[in-house]
Symmetry: C2
Subunit: 199 residues, 2 copies
């Protein structure tokens, strides 16, 4: 688009850096932003700048926060002895949306991958172990993904805590609620069958 | 998501106002922006602000521009007597991408819709007619959509110019290049059949 204004071209380029946004979608978003009143552009830009300036990582769980200690870690109503371990800060969201977890979180920052140079020290694993030793943690829910790396990370943490009284659990695997059986992949079916429960 | 930082919540809300971006995708985009280095947020925000401040409508064709007269209208190499009439400023893009149109553009700003109160004066139709009368326009390519409103808008402009020497044309309708015939909708097939051309 050699004849488009440079500022428009730059906006399209910046938008197309977002995940899942190709050049065409970026163009559509740019035109949407330009077509209405200019206030919505102002308010989107300021929301981005505000998030950039205000949001940091919680010093306790490494989740997103606007304060040194996040609202979850700081909430006296939450049980302190159940910690849900996740890969990324964004993984906290689905738990909070469901409201099922009343305890705290801990963000690892990734999963172990020796070939990529990601060792326990690269992640927050030493801090997690330290926290478990200091605090009276009863249960650690290892809510990591199902990739081989995630599974071996869970296994690694499980082994470190083998001689402690801390319960290590993981989320149930099985058929998603409301799913049609014919659309279930083989591995999920295998897991759901193996881990079947008594009615 | 009652426990997420307000700045994050606001960013998700602003992003979900974009077309085709639901709450889940907005959350994903927000987490993407927050996860890497903060420079990319700065540069996206500044691209939005820059576009907001710099981009205006061309005084001649009503397309997007950073100057009073856009680069296309101002380009001496473009033929001035062929004008391609489009609904929205964003419709100029596919023509420019293909590079096929060597003339100028004119953005109507919409299509006639008497029921919604959109009359010729609401759009830029009087300005278009004035421009045709003043300049020596040879051909007007009415590249409007195929909705009933768009078709009647094209017909309306066609009738106004009935007694002038201006050629009125429209884009060919037919099977898109590379499309499989089995995926063609009935109306496109009807048009493609009716407007078939000699080999």
């Amino acid at each position: 688009m050699h004849s488009s204004p440079p500022a428009l071209e730059r906006l399209v380029q910046e938008l197309s850096k977002l995940p899942g946004i190709g050049r065409k979608t970026a163009g559509r978003l740019a035109f949407f932003l330009l077509s209405g009143d200019r206030e919505k552009m102002e308010s989107l830009a300021s929301a981005i700048v505000e998030a950039k300036d205000k949001i940091v990582h919680c010093n306790c769980c490494y989740g997103f926060s606007e304060t040194e200690i996040c609202q979850i870690c700081d909430d006296p109503r939450r049980t302190k002895d159940v910690i849900c371990v996740v890969e990324r800060a964004s993984d906290i969201l689905p738990f909070e949306n469901s409201g099922i977890h009343k305890g705290l979180y801990f963000v690892l920052g990734g999963v172990l991958s020796p070939l990529d140079g990601i060792k326990p020290e690269t992640l927050h694993i030493p801090t997690l172990i330290e926290r478990i030793e200091k605090e009276n943690v009863k249960e650690l829910i290892l809510a990591l993904g199902s990739s081989p790396e995630a599974e071996s990370t869970a296994l690694y943490i499980d082994r470190i805590l083998a001689n402690t009284p801390v319960h290590r659990t993981r989320l149930a695997r099985g058929i998603p609620v409301g799913s049609d059986l014919e659309f279930i992949d083989d591995i999920t079916m295998l897991r759901a069958f193996e881990e079947r429960v008594k009615i």
